[in-house]
């Protein structure tokens, strides 16, 4: 049984814009799934639907991961500027109520993203990449089953992005989470995921699925391999076709 089942979901916003039309997909427990599509194809909407932040206009979403077992990473770090790094990471625990283990869990989450030394810093004192790490630590602090990531590295420079890609894979492998990763980057989706769902724009539909059968751990050698290049070509072609269908519709 999949962790999340999306069945024939559509979403029409109050202003009449149809973001999604008849989207179906399963998220298997433990997998790394990427949702690839151009801007405005409803990828973020799909993620927000899975998180339960908005309700579908049609279709159903079944999830065995309860709301308490979700972690969400936004495109921006979305940190509270008035709170220290530790207080930001602690937020999900604080909102749930008193938890005597909270300080230890915050410390562990910060250590996992390599920011143990910055617990008492304020967000403005950190670089873009470090802020995103804090955001990831905050998503991990509740030990969620399912991690939803909405183009988390889109605003970062390539060097930082590659490093965070590697760190994310490391975390995924060591923690055994399920990750749904939304991106518009073909290269990022191929590098990270086991499976890629390619979406069409306006309204978003699932165009096709691609399995990336490359072994983990993946590293710089994989990034420069012929296999990686082959998958990237496949994904690019699928994306190009998806966009052509979207425009034709």
């Amino acid at each position: 049984m999949p962790l999340v089942g999306v069945h024939g979901v559509s979403k029409i916003f109050a202003n009449g814009v149809q973001a999604l039309a008849d989207v179906s997909l399963d998220v298997e427990a433990g997998e790394f799934l990427s949702v690839l599509g151009p801007s405005g194809c409803g990828k973020s909407t799909l993620l927000r639907l899975i998180a339960g932040l908005i309700q579908p206009s049609g279709g159903t979403i079944e999830s065995t991961a309860g709301k308490a077992e979700l972690g969400f990473v936004f495109q921006e770090p979305t940190l509270m500027p008035w709170a220290t790094v530790a207080a930001n990471v602690r937020l999900p625990l604080k909102l749930k109520g008193l938890d005597p283990t909270a300080p230890a869990r915050v410390e562990a989450a910060l250590a996992r993203v390599g920011l143990a030394a910055f617990a008492s810093s304020y967000p403005r004192e950190l670089s873009g990449g470090m802020k995103m790490r804090v955001s990831i630590a905050r998503a991990l602090v509740t030990e969620p089953k399912l991690l939803l990531m909405d183009e988390p590295f889109a605003a970062l420079d390539e060097i930082t992005r590659f490093r965070l890609n590697n760190d994310l894979l490391e975390l995924w492998r060591s923690l055994g989470k399920t990750v749904v990763f939304v991106t518009h980057s073909v290269f990022e989706s191929v590098y990270l995921s086991q499976r890629i769902v390619v979406m069409t724009p306006r309204p978003g539909r699932v165009f096709t699925e691609l399995a990336i059968d490359a072994p983990y751990p993946r590293d710089e050698r994989f990034r420069t391999s012929a296999m990686y290049a082959g998958y990237c070509r496949q994904a690019s072609e699928a994306l190009a076709q998806a966009m052509a269908t979207g425009e034709g519709a």
């Binding site: 998180a51 932040l53 709301k67 969400f72 979305t78 008035w82 909102l95 304020y122």
Partner: protein, 272 residues
């Protein structure tokens, strides 16, 4: 390289010194000029007292003036405190309930746009003088707090709000942990405006009460001294009012700086 570095270091320090020294120099120059003009043209003190006379009056009449200062400052601070509680409280109420906002907001605006000088005599008819003066200070000061707090409460980052929802935050948690904290810089901005305005409100009401009132605030002293042609005391009282305004402004600026210095862009000294 080193030369540029040295200049970069020296500039902020020189800037700070200039910022402190220049206003004082202008003040000294102005006072000296004033004294010189009064002496040169032998202007009588009931037309324009010299600065020296002003200060000697300040010392000679200190017992009367300090009592008045205390009265005005008390009114101002009480009016300010009520404005903060009322402004923030009403803004929170509006934020929590749209119906209350729709029902009351127009009246808050009406209170704000009707000139306080026109309302003061009416308030003096219906309220005991002390309460009327306090009401004036409050009416003038509460609106900027209300308007700024409302703006702040509505300026919450959408994603942060989603995050709070995702983790099942209660209404109270969203208000305390998110909205009020995000609104803090706006609220502090409102306080800075309200501090000066509550002093103005208190003074306007005291003047409206005038000699008819039993009040003894600084503005009352100004009116009274005017009737008695005791112009030096009038100036001394004016001087104290102006100093009070400056102190209130700097106290609130300091408060704002202390509360925001760790995280808000406005309080951060940028190295250029």
């Amino acid at each position: 390289m080193s030369e540029a570095g040295a200049r970069g270091d020296a500039r902020p320090r020189r800037d700070r010194v200039l910022r402190a020294v220049l206003p004082v120099a202008v003040l000294a120059l102005g006072v000296a000029l004033w004294e010189a003009v009064v002496r040169l043209y032998a202007i009588p003190p009931y037309v324009l007292p010299s600065p020296l006379l002003l200060f000697s009056t300040l010392i000679a009449d200190w017992s009367v003036l300090s009592a008045s200062l205390l009265v005005t400052l008390t009114t101002t601070l009480e009016g300010f405190a009520l404005a903060v509680v009322g402004g923030v409280g009403l803004a929170v109420l509006f934020n929590q309930s749209r119906l209350i906002e729709y029902s009351l907001y127009p009246y808050a605006v009406i209170l704000q746009v009707t000139p306080i000088v026109a309302i003061a005599p009416l308030l003096l008819v219906y309220l005991p003088q002390q309460a009327a003066v306090l009401a004036c200070a409050w009416i003038v000061a509460f609106f900027p707090v209300l308007a700024n707090t409302t703006l702040g409460l509505n300026s919450v980052d959408r994603n942060l709000a989603d995050l709070f929802r995702l983790y099942g935050a209660t209404r109270a948690q969203v208000l305390w942990e998110l909205k009020l904290k995000a609104a803090l810089p706006y609220i502090l901005g409102g306080l800075k405006i309200a501090g000066g305005l509550s002093l103005i409100g208190a003074v306007v009401a005291e003047i409206a009460a005038g000699s008819a009132g039993a009040g003894s605030g600084l503005a009352y002293r100004i009116v009274e001294s005017g009737y008695r042609l005791n112009i030096p005391r009038m100036f001394a009282a004016l001087f104290l009012l102006s100093v009070s305004g400056i102190v209130i402004f700097f106290a609130l600026s300091l408060l704002s700086h202390l509360m925001l210095r760790r995280w808000h862009e406005s309080a951060i000294v940028r190295e250029v």
